[in-house]
Symmetry: C2
């Protein structure tokens, strides 16, 4: 491994200084930011201040004095430029799952308001290998309101892309897709899909779980109707951090959603018995948000203030291409079947490799302080997070992988036992 060449790449990297903002686990190459992003020093300090001072000393007054009540919208406005949205269309709340339920219901309400007969346009189109929770939420809504009002239809991802017209048609109410596939890293051409869906009279919900903070997203330009996304992956908001939801400005006036908790009320502290939605994106809120969780997300996003998503994308591609190149150089490419698209522009910020021993290899890598992850049935996933992953990291990771394969360290029986969370 030519580490001096890699160090030169790091020196030339315009984002290299951002690594110092993060707590990097000791002696570790962390390639799992697509599952749980690392913590910034600023986030750690903010959480400490939120406990010691805000909760500990200022107590209940902090809802006003420290702006707790405004955090969901404040974070939304910080997220907006990262996902190509004007301010006022994004808010931070709940989980992706819960936000999908809101947006699915809201999208149906938009179609109802258009006078679309539900019995003629009631299908929710998604892909069979979308992240399961997305499908489960449609199944939950379907069970609640009946398949005649909401019916999940699954397409094969490749077949969908090969013939959009065949799959998106007059019965399609909602196209619900994740831009970047969690297994393969494949990035869907959302602008094209959205244009096609709109032409067919359908609305589109985009799941940005593996996009936000990783690739340049252009929700407004694409004319997406709704989007949801995750802050704990590339946005480094902390384990299980609250998700976000986007509603296009054109829908905000009339849209409604059924998880109409008091935080979405026009005047929550009047305590009126009748729900009246607040104007704007606030109506997507439901119950009281966790302030510890919100504070962490708010602080985590500060590192994006002086970064463009174009810079992030450029380095992400650089890291991934280097990884592939080093696999070639070391001969590992023969063993690891890359199931991600060969063309960088068709990928998100990860590479996935099929290998019969993927699980054990992943465990062996982790023991050697290279943190990747495994996804069923047999994929090793490697995530690239340009804010803190260096080119040298990539070299170290591949060198350790080569050693593990050469010594067959992964065959150790203790790497075979599956853990609760894989």
């Amino acid at each position: 491994m030519n580490f001096s060449a890699l160090e030169r790449l790091d020196q030339a990297d315009p984002l290299t200084h951002l690594r110092d903002e993060f707590v990097i686990p000791e002696d570790t190459v962390y390639l799992d930011g697509n599952s749980l992003g690392l913590m910034t020093h600023g986030t750690q300090a903010r959480v400490a201040e939120t406990t010691a001072q805000q909760w500990g000393q200022d107590g209940i007054r902090s809802w006003n004095e420290h702006g707790w009540v405004h955090l969901p919208a404040k974070i939304g406005d910080k997220l907006a430029p990262i996902i190509g949205a004007q301010a006022g269309q994004v808010i931070c709340c709940d989980s992706i799952s819960v936000n999908l339920f809101k947006t699915l219901s809201a999208a149906f309400a938009v179609l109802d308001a258009r006078g679309e007969p539900r019995n003629q346009r009631h299908q929710v189109l998604s892909t069979a290998d979308n992240f399961p929770t997305d499908l489960y939420m449609v199944q939950g809504l379907q069970q609640l309101i009946g398949a005649e009002n909401c019916e999940l239809v699954l397409a094969d991802e490749a077949e969908l892309l090969a013939d959009l017209s065949k799959h998106i048609h007059a019965q399609t109410a909602i196209v619900m897709l994740t831009e970047v596939n969690f297994r393969s890293g494949r990035r869907l051409p959302m602008a094209e899909i959205i244009a096609h869906a709109h032409a067919a009279g359908a609305l589109v919900i985009v799941d940005l779980a593996h996009s936000a903070g990783a690739v340049p997203v252009e929700l407004d330009k694409w004319q997406a109707d709704f989007a949801v996304g995750c802050t704990y992956k590339y946005l480094n908001g902390g384990p299980g951090a609250p998700a976000f939801v986007y509603v296009a400005e054109r829908h905000l006036g009339s849209v409604r959603q059924p998880l109409s908790g008091w935080f979405g009320h026009a005047r929550p502290f009047v305590f009126d018995a009748q729900f009246e939605a607040t104007d704007g994106i606030g109506k997507m809120l439901s119950g009281t948000p966790s302030i510890l969780a919100m504070s962490a997300v708010d602080a985590a996003l500060d590192v994006f203030a002086d970064v463009t998503m174009v810079q992030v994308r450029e380095k992400s591609i650089g890291l991934a291409e280097l990884f592939l190149e080093l696999l070639e150089q070391t001969g590992l490419a023969r063993e690891f079947d890359c199931i991600s698209p060969k063309t960088a522009q068709q990928r998100g910020s990860q590479l996935s490799f099929a290998h019969p021993d993927a699980y054990a290899i992943c465990q062996a890598l982790i023991e050697h302080k290279v943190i990747a992850d495994f996804r069923a049935p047999n994929y090793l996933r490697v995530g690239f997070t340009p804010l803190y992953t260096s080119f040298t990291d990539i070299g170290r990771a591949v060198a350790r992988l080569a050693e593990i394969m050469q010594t067959r360290a992964y065959t150790d029986p203790r790497f075979q036992t599956r853990q609760a969370v894989t």
Copy 2:
């Protein structure tokens, strides 16, 4: 004020040592634990450890190594004895609002499974002055599935109690009540109401927002069907901390809920496209929970380990009765109209007083470091949290209130301006 008598009460109090477990804001009498409970030192340390070590150093591996994946159920089992439930029926997740949506839908599913024709039994009975978010969630479900399937019916609280049979009848599907009224502190006779509802063929959802950790709750003994509750009030879980949900064991086998996210799946890491609920209370989970928020709740509950709810209740009544007695002694009782029940057993752990200047008086109290709160239209609320409120605190609070009223300090114009959160 006879402070030496109050100090003797504190010395004789079997819970007095627990005050040291808490971070008490400097020089402050905190009587707002019914809105946001104080932080324990243990919770602060746990949050610091969760950031510095678990997230910061151990990253993604913490889902297994630090048991993140088990936190919702672990916390549920800690909560169970506090609310009179056997383990395995309680889980920590989401907000009360979201959990109400789950339990409302689940209760209707139970009735469907019993073969109850929905068009004959579709009403959700609640009280007009229940906490608004409870009503809003029914309204959201009603809008989604139609008033013929779910119709909110509101009764006056006093009228309901005066004649249960008149209000709970063959059209009543679900009785949804908050045990302790957030405004008045009135405690409803839940055992009696539940028996009555069951006799009429209805199911019962109990909101324990102002009960859990404050009064002895006996969900199993009462035969409650479902319950939800809050961990950020008397349970000290932190601002906006995740809520909990209880499902009676007899319903757990067959119940389903529509927010069927991947954390409620039988095998979430198999990533199957078809939802299959896990056995037991885990099926009430939806998306990925915030681990910072969960860790805080988990640590906060430790202080309850060696305390019985009977002890908590006894001291709570002692504090409230002392407050009332001191209002009498100081003549303040003439100005402050106590709208809470006169009989201690009919109250939760708060007292509410109507006063035309309640808002300004509350602000003046806060400036004098007595933290109470205000609820529209004109109530001053005072909460008693036996784990950290002392009898001396009560004396200091009443003395400061007397001074504010005597000097008319509350008439200062700066106390008139309403804040975002009241």
